[in-house]
């Protein structure tokens, strides 16, 4: 067990190095999740990723093999749209994700559908489409690595990440 943790630590640091080495901004979907919220007692910086996550929520979830938006997903996206209007310079990346219960290729297509469904809803609420980039990660970026129904339901999502001109 000790050994495993150690190895995992090495891989984590490798991942960090590779993120720094890439030319673009660090877009690891999980990177900005908790750190700023917990280390800044004054609360998240307005217009930041942490602010978006706190005041709107940055993830919407889908049913198995589904890409239709649930009522809850629509509420989250409505809050995201309101937030994006408050910070009109902000650009976002919308990433569609799938659970591991499909093939790699079909899941890439399904992830694209999920990202597009979320984008379309934001656009229908008045967010300029040019502010939104969509990608599909298929089943390649699970949030929860476990092979359980609970993990799979979390891994079927569209995740919003600020990519530019945020605070």
């Amino acid at each position: 067990m000790m050994k495993f943790t150690k190895i995992a630590g090495i891989f984590a640091s490798l991942a960090l190095i590779s993120a720094c080495a890439s030319t673009g901004p660090d877009l690891d979907a999980t990177a900005g999740t908790d750190t700023s919220a917990t280390t800044q007692p004054a609360g998240p910086v307005p217009g930041s990723q942490a602010d978006l996550e706190n005041s709107a929520g940055h993830r919407v979830f889908y049913g198995y093999n589904e890409y239709t938006l649930t009522g809850e997903a629509q509420s989250t996206l409505a809050r995201q749209a309101a937030w994006l209007k408050e910070y009109p310079e902000t650009r976002i990346l919308l990433a569609g994700n799938c659970d591991e219960r499909g093939t790699r290729e079909y899941n890439l297509a399904l992830g694209a559908r999920r990202a597009e469904a979320a984008k379309s809803y934001l656009v229908s609420l008045g967010v300029d489409a040019s502010r939104i980039t969509t990608v599909s990660y298929g089943k390649e970026r699970p949030i929860d690595p476990r092979s359980t129904e609970q993990a799979w339901s979390v891994n079927r999502n569209a995740t919003t990440t600020i990519t530019g001109a945020g605070a």
């Binding site: 490798l14 499909g102 290729e105 690595p145």
Partner: protein, 441 residues
């Protein structure tokens, strides 16, 4: 690629006994008993060639054994110790240990520094030579010579081309499941000589596919901040290039059987359709135009039909269409989902991944949709790829993670067309998305 020179050996003075029916293996039968075969270490005149002879024999025996068609008899049981490749064996000594086929070989060092590997294949029961062959090659290329000998034995006994002198590309995986480092790697079919081809730093490699005609690979590069794109990789030069520049994601690439085109899916505004790219002109032709997801194109070896996955009927099923996109029709109708069809190089079958009631299966079906057979089942089996002779399927199997999120390894496995002979394929670490090369020239 190093060249191998093939020479047919002259037959040894005609056997006095009349030839009985030749030993043959019918590889279409699902319940064959493996053929008992004996292979003493290939002979050599000095220590160096004797050492090579031992190594070469080991590779041949491993190839034959893993095919499931042969049972290699332990060398400790052998009575006769052959002294020359040009000497008739004492067949009685081999019949006693129940060998049906005897392989005798020799390694010689040539004056130009190369080696010659000579092999004779004997039918122990009819006391006759079935075939003989010799390969000349640089000494450091001895593994390929051994695979060529194994392919020669396979063809002699089955009547069909072998698949041992081939390579595999696959995705080498390291790191946590949440964000794996995925590198393109290549190795010999038996797991020897693994070489990483990409560094895994700036993108993940997914779904590599071998060109059926050249030392080329196409794969999808998955980026963090822009849609994934299809790439072309030249194995000999190491050069890689993106196949076109598109706003949407391009993915699920696969070569046409003549190697001159790459079929792929392209996503536009969330919807995925199938396109064909001519590699010389880089012109893209649309093949499907459907509001449903169309992915995973694969072309029949005669170039006339294409199979693909679509969810246009509500669930994911395999469809076929003409090479120009016309005449689209569904061919799978079973319960659950059918995905990632892969046309056999023989043309007679299409392999697929089926998902049904939470289990994954690798199966095969005829191009007209009849004769479906499931070959494997597990928590997650996917990504079938065919041996160049269409007799063996490789795929990857992922185990479920444990409650604490650890585990969940991916490994390569092989199974033959009859569903028998399920075996792990040795890789350095975790591996997924295998793709089989054609037979090497």
């Amino acid at each position: 690629m190093k060249k191998l020179l093939i020479i047919l050996l002259a037959a040894i003075a005609a056997a006095s006994t009349p030839a009985f029916a030749r030993v043959t293996i019918d590889i279409t039968q699902g319940n064959v008993d493996p053929m008992p075969v004996a292979a003493p270490n290939f002979l050599g005149a000095d220590e160096a060639t004797q050492g090579l002879g031992r190594d070469i024999t080991g590779v041949i025996m491993n190839d034959l054994d893993r095919s499931g068609l042969f049972q290699v008899i332990d060398q400790r049981a052998y009575i006769e110790k052959p002294e020359s490749v040009n000497q008739r064996p004492r067949f009685a000594d081999w019949r006693i240990i129940n060998a049906q086929v005897l392989i005798v070989g020799e390694v010689e060092e040539l004056s130009d520094g190369r080696i010659q590997v000579s092999t004779r294949v004997w039918d122990v029961y009819s006391d006759e030579q079935l075939a003989a062959v010799a390969f000349k090659t640089p000494a450091d290329n001895w593994r390929r010579a051994a695979h060529k000998v194994a392919d020669f034995v396979y063809k002699t006994l089955t009547g069909e081309d072998g698949y041992f002198d081939t390579r595999l590309v696959f995705v080498h995986e390291t790191g946590p499941k949440e964000k794996k480092v995925k590198r393109l790697m290549i190795m010999d079919q038996d797991g020897a000589n693994p070489i990483p081809l990409t560094d895994g730093l700036n993108y993940q490699v997914l779904t590599p596919r071998f060109s059926p005609t050249q030392q080329q690979i196409t794969y999808m590069a998955l980026f963090d901040n822009r849609p994934g794109q299809v790439y072309l990789f030249n194995i000999e030069t190491g050069e890689q290039e993106q196949l076109g520049t598109f706003r949407g994601m391009t993915f699920a690439p696969r070569f046409s059987p003549d190697g001159r085109a790459v079929m792929m899916s392209m996503e536009r505004n969330g919807n995925s359709d199938i396109f064909n790219m001519d590699l010389s002109t880089r012109r893209l032709t649309r093949l499907t135009d459907n509001p449903a997801i169309d992915v995973s194109p694969t072309m029949a070896p005669d170039g006339k039909r294409i199979a693909f996955t679509s969810d246009r009927g509500g669930s994911q099923q395999v469809y076929t269409m003409n090479a120009d996109g016309s005449n689209q029709k569904r061919i799978t109708f079973g319960q659950g989902n059918y995905q990632t069809p892969v046309w056999s190089p023989r043309g007679d079958l299409i392999a697929f991944t089926r998902i049904y009631q939470g289990r994954f299966y690798i199966g095969v079906v005829r191009p007209d949709g009849s004769g479906e057979r499931l070959l494997t089942e597990s928590f997650l089996d996917e990504g079938p790829t065919w041996s160049p002779n269409g007799r063996v399927i490789l795929f990857y199997r992922q185990t479920p993670t444990r409650r604490d999120g650890s585990g969940g390894d991916s490994q390569l496995w092989s199974v033959d067309l009859t569903g028998r002979n399920l075996r792990r394929v040795r890789t350095p670490g975790e591996a997924s998305d295998p793709a089989w090369s054609p037979l090497l020239p």
